[in-house]
């Protein structure tokens, strides 16, 4: 617990934590401003109606979560990569191991701290997103009655839990890539590359790519046939996994990423 507490203290003080969160919130705000502005000026009633759904409650709840998973997935990957890479680059992992700390233990507890902050970021961003949607609804004269919809609110904890799992997996993926690369920049760069490659590949090989991490993460809160904000950062109508199957796939990716991180750290020759 002493190591986990210390990791949490470090992450609170770490600029990357706040930069990542503020970037997520800024992008979210930008998206809502764009949606509201374009909807207000849209002459095609069908397009306008589709856009209004983003600010129409209770449908807005899963849409906001899906939006956050789309942008936040990439940011979570970068955040995980930054933390894992810096442990190698700054030599702080080396210092801990030389003090007799267990390599896997250190790696997994550091990840636990990162995942906890990523989930907190998700919750805070969700609150911001819901507020934005409510403001957008007010501007577009969409009634807010659905906000208090009992069924939708009842499903919310499960939806948020699924999103938390997806964000944790994205974080773990960045963490694993940076652990292999032993560098912040290389980890983040490769992570971003994988994210966009998956997004592009999903256009050509949707039935294969649906099993890949970002697509599966996008599917954990998506409804069958819904718009998914998955890999590639774009709203792409793709072949989407059943949400329950997606949860299992995401869990498998999470375990695999953590396993790779632990094994790589355990076997590594630490220098520098």
């Amino acid at each position: 617990m002493r190591l986990l507490r210390s990791n949490l203290r470090k992450l609170v003080r770490r600029p990357a934590t706040w930069v990542t969160f503020l970037l997520l919130v800024a992008l979210l705000l930008l998206i809502f401003v764009a949606i509201v502005a374009s909807t207000a000026q849209e002459s095609d009633p069908e397009v306008a109606l589709a856009a209004r759904l983003v600010v129409t409650f209770p449908e807005a709840y899963p849409v906001v979560l899906s939006l956050i998973l789309g942008i936040g997935g990439l940011l979570a990957l970068c955040y995980g990569g930054a933390i894992a890479g810096s442990e190698w680059q700054w030599g702080t992992l080396k210092a801990a191991v030389a003090r007799g700390e267990g390599r896997s233990r250190y790696t997994l507890l550091t990840y636990a701290g990162v995942a906890l902050f990523a989930i907190l970021g998700l919750l805070a961003a969700f609150a911001v997103g819901v507020a934005c949607a409510a403001v957008g609804a007010t501007i577009l004269d969409v009634p807010l009655d659905g906000m208090g919809d009992g069924r939708a609110l009842g499903r919310l904890p499960e939806q948020v839990g699924r999103a938390a799992l997806a964000v944790s997996m994205n974080t773990a993926l960045g963490y694993a890539i940076a652990t292999i690369a032993r560098s912040q920049l290389a980890g983040i760069g490769v992570g971003i590359g994988v994210y966009f490659a998956e997004g592009i590949a999903s256009i050509f090989l949707p039935s294969v790519i649906q099993w890949f991490p970002f697509s599966a993460a996008g599917a954990v809160v998506a409804q069958g046939g819904d718009v998914s904000f998955g890999g590639g950062g774009e709203a792409v109508a793709t072949t989407v996994l059943d949400p329950n199957v997606a949860v299992v796939v995401v869990l498998a990716w999470l375990v695999a990423a953590l396993g790779v991180s632990a094994v790589m750290t355990e076997r590594a020759e630490i220098g520098g």
Partner: protein
């Protein structure tokens, strides 16, 4: 090879290879308990690789390591709870303060006693800057903080890689006094360095490593005595007479004719303390030495046994060798009383 028998650190046949390059080639070390051990070697000799193996950062391809009397290998990480180390550059989170960094370090591995962090910050004279972010620290301040980090869990064995890096003269004196005090209290300090003057002032015992092997080990006095040489200059036409006289004192094969440009120089492999015997033997035979230069220095010993040659300022094509370094020694000089690391 046990702590009870007075050996804090021992390696046997330690070998490590990085691809085709051999870093360690059967390294055998024995570091007695309660001493400052200077681990010397030229760049690339295997010092840092040894340190990394001793702290579990890399694993040896072959050989054995014993730390504080017990075997140390994969899975024995808890042996390191009694070992403090500073390997290569000090490692810190730049966005945290010095105190927060020590707290973060104390959370990993061996627990640190309560109040230890403030105690150490005072010891390394960083108390006033303890709240500042490490990103604003100078190299010397980071080095001090690194040494404080190595001392966190009050280790029995301290492994320091080039600890004087970046320290100012006051910092070096403070570090030296601290390390001497630790050794005096029964702890063992293993210091890797290539700053020979620093090691000569600090270490009780030195080990010299070259090409991954230990080439000399012992107290500095002992090594200098063993490797000692005396250079004697006589009239050039008396060299043939002087050589056998000197050989009678120093032994067959101990006398070499120095073929330097001036002529008349003979090098005698003998304990420099016996130079008066040589002088007397020559005088009794009616040969008088024009000059007698005594003794190997740690530097000449180091250069000799490691096969290192100065690569700067010697020019090309057999230019003149640099003049010999004369160690300024002042037997009357008192050790500083302070252990402060003032900046």
């Amino acid at each position: 090879m046990t702590d009870a028998t007075g050996v804090a650190l021992a390696t046997q046949g330690l070998a490590k290879r990085y691809g085709p390059r051999i870093a360690l080639d059967g390294l055998d070390l024995r570091v007695p308990t309660g001493v400052v051990y200077g681990f010397l070697g030229p760049n690339g000799a295997g010092k840092t690789t040894t340190m990394r193996i001793l702290t579990g950062l890399v694993h040896a391809d072959a050989g054995r390591v014993e730390l504080l009397g017990r075997p140390f290998g994969r899975g024995d990480r808890r042996r390191l709870f009694e070992v403090g180390s500073l390997i290569e550059a000090p490692s810190f989170y730049p966005f945290l303060s010095g105190r927060e960094n020590l707290r973060a370090l104390a959370a990993a591995g061996a627990p640190a006693p309560r109040g230890r962090i403030d105690e150490l910050l005072t010891l390394v004279n960083l108390r006033d800057r303890a709240g500042d972010k490490v990103s604003g620290y100078s190299l010397g301040m980071k080095q001090r903080l690194g040494i404080a980090g190595a001392l966190l869990s009050d280790p029995k064995l301290l492994l320091l890689d080039e600890p004087a890096n970046g320290l100012d003269p006051a910092g070096i004196v403070g570090m030296r006094d601290t390390l001497r005090a630790l050794a005096a209290s029964g702890k063992t300090v293993f210091v890797s360095s290539h700053i020979l003057s620093e090691v000569q002032q600090l270490a009780d015992v030195v080990g010299i490593i070259a090409r991954g092997r230990l080439v000399r080990e012992g107290t500095i006095d002992q090594l200098l005595r063993e490797e000692g040489a005396v250079r004697i200059r006589v009239a050039p036409d008396e060299v043939a007479v002087a050589a056998p006289i000197l050989a009678r004192v120093a032994g067959e094969g101990a006398v070499e004719l120095d073929d330097g440009p001036e002529g008349g120089w003979l090098t005698v492999r003998i304990d420099p303390h016996r130079s008066s015997e040589l002088n007397r033997a020559l005088a009794e035979s009616g040969v008088f030495a024009a000059r007698i230069e005594g003794g190997a220095t740690l530097e000449s010993l180091f250069l000799g046994v490691t096969g290192s040659r100065p690569d700067v300022g010697t020019g090309t094509g057999g230019g003149e060798a640099p003049p010999p370094v004369v160690w300024a020694t002042d037997p009357g000089r008192k050790q500083p009383e302070t252990t402060g690391w003032s900046s």
